[in-house]
């Protein structure tokens, strides 16, 4: 070991940090939903997973305030709810973006550069795995095998499969969306004017 320069890497996976704070308005809605869901369950630790699943079904993710509410109802530390939510891949802690990129990291995709595709998305969007961009337009996730290994590396863009995704293709995918959003925003502007 001596004499070998070790490559240390810092682990800051941002997926389980609450990057996006819900607005006061959103918070109220979240708390209402959570209260309603909690009403249907005995506030017992053994029901924690199904409760979290219900909340995620309803809200699309597990907001921090929701976890805190649940913890209070169960009389357990919030960090225990957090621990469970970060243990299972099925839970997400940040709201899904309008468009979701799921980069496949199954064996076949990984071997031919799934991680390169992932890195390209990370760099271009300036977010980490499991994160959502501040404007909530895009979110990034890893998945494990979507079943079309022959066109690896695969990225699922919303519900569309993209095969053989190179960094250039990542740029292309993002560019297409930026175009679309631009048009939509333009349209919105026009409609607004017409409405007045």
């Amino acid at each position: 070991m001596q004499g070998v320069t070790k490559r240390h890497y810092v682990i800051i996976s941002k997926g389980d940090v609450f990057v996006l704070k819900p607005s006061e308005n959103e918070k109220e809605i979240i708390i209402e939903h959570v209260a309603e869901i909690l009403g249907g369950w005995r506030a017992d630790r053994e029901n924690l997973i199904p409760i979290l699943q219900d909340v995620q079904d309803r809200l699309g993710y597990l907001p921090g305030v929701a976890m805190e509410k649940i913890a209070t109802a169960m009389d357990i530390p919030a960090v225990d709810v957090f621990g469970l939510a970060t243990f299972y891949n099925q839970f997400r802690l940040n709201p899904p973006g309008d468009h979701q990129f799921k980069v496949c990291m199954g064996t076949a995709c990984y071997m031919v550069g799934g991680n390169i595709a992932m890195d390209s998305f990370k760099r271009r969007l300036s977010i980490g795995e499991g994160d959502t961009t501040p404007d909530r337009k895009f979110s990034l996730e890893r998945v494990v095998c979507v079943g079309c290994c022959s066109i690896a590396p695969v990225v699922v863009v919303d519900d569309m499969i993209e095969g053989k995704v190179t960094p250039t293709r990542v740029d292309g995918i993002l560019l297409a969306f930026e175009d679309k959003h631009q048009k939509k925003d333009d349209n919105k502007g026009n409609q607004g004017q017409e409405g007045v």
Binding site: Y9, I11, P77, F87
Partner: protein, 222 residues
């Protein structure tokens, strides 16, 4: 009332209350068995460090002594080739996810890993496994302690005292597998969490992950 039973550990007859966990019986009789994750008061041991293996006569494979209840006439060996091998592998795996640099570690000389190494003739060096080389940013609390995750062995002692003794609930485990770590709600810094800086977790840490700074820095020993 539990009755007192007699068992044999390494050819020595010892008495203990029936049902007591073997690890504590051995330790109380000055028979050392490596352990990191065991907490005596804990009802259900997590048995996660896999260091406390022993051989119990009549059982097909070594068992973890922190989960094994003692009974009358039990015959235990703390060292057999099979036991030693399991302990060595568990130890090496722990070290592969540990920033091994005892000379710069605040816990040098009062570290539980060093104690295990000494007791079992194991090296504090990696040979078979590669180091994962994980580096986490060092956390420094305002004036009281530091938390170096790169040296955490995930024994859970700090989480237990935080929950059960201090009754604060500021820290817990998050994530899974190699990414598992002790953290706060939302991975925020401890000083922004509900941590009261009582220092109990620092005292509970068997290795150089949680350390007092400044005046209290010698308080952890012993």
């Amino acid at each position: 009332m539990s009755k007192t039973i007699t068992l044999t550990i390494d050819d020595r007859k010892v008495t203990a209350p029936e049902g007591e966990k073997l690890l504590w019986v051995a330790l109380e009789n000055d028979i050392y068995i490596p352990n990191l994750c065991a907490i005596k008061e804990e009802g259900r041991p997590s048995a996660s460090c896999r260091l406390c293996f022993v051989h119990v006569e009549g059982l097909p494979a070594p068992v973890t002594s922190c989960t094994q209840a003692v009974r009358e006439g039990m015959v235990v060996k703390t060292r057999t080739p099979q036991v030693d091998r399991l302990v060595r592998t568990a130890f090496e795996l722990l070290l592969s996810d540990h920033r091994l640099k005892c000379s710069t570690c605040p816990q040098n000389r009062s570290c539980e890993l060093q104690k295990i190494a000494r007791a079992r003739g194991l090296k504090l060096k990696l040979k078979r496994f590669k180091s994962l080389g994980k580096e986490y940013p060092l956390y420094e609390s305002p004036g009281l302690f530091t938390f170096d995750r790169s040296r955490c062995v995930l024994c859970g002692r700090c989480v237990w005292v935080d929950h059960e003794v201090a009754k604060v609930g500021a820290i817990g485990f998050a994530r899974r597998g190699l990414k598992r770590m002790v953290t706060t709600f939302g991975n925020i810094d401890l000083d922004a969490s509900s941590c009261t800086e009582c220092g109990l977790c620092v005292k509970a840490c068997p290795v150089g992950a949680l350390n007092f700074t400044g005046e209290q820095s010698s308080e952890k020993d012993g």
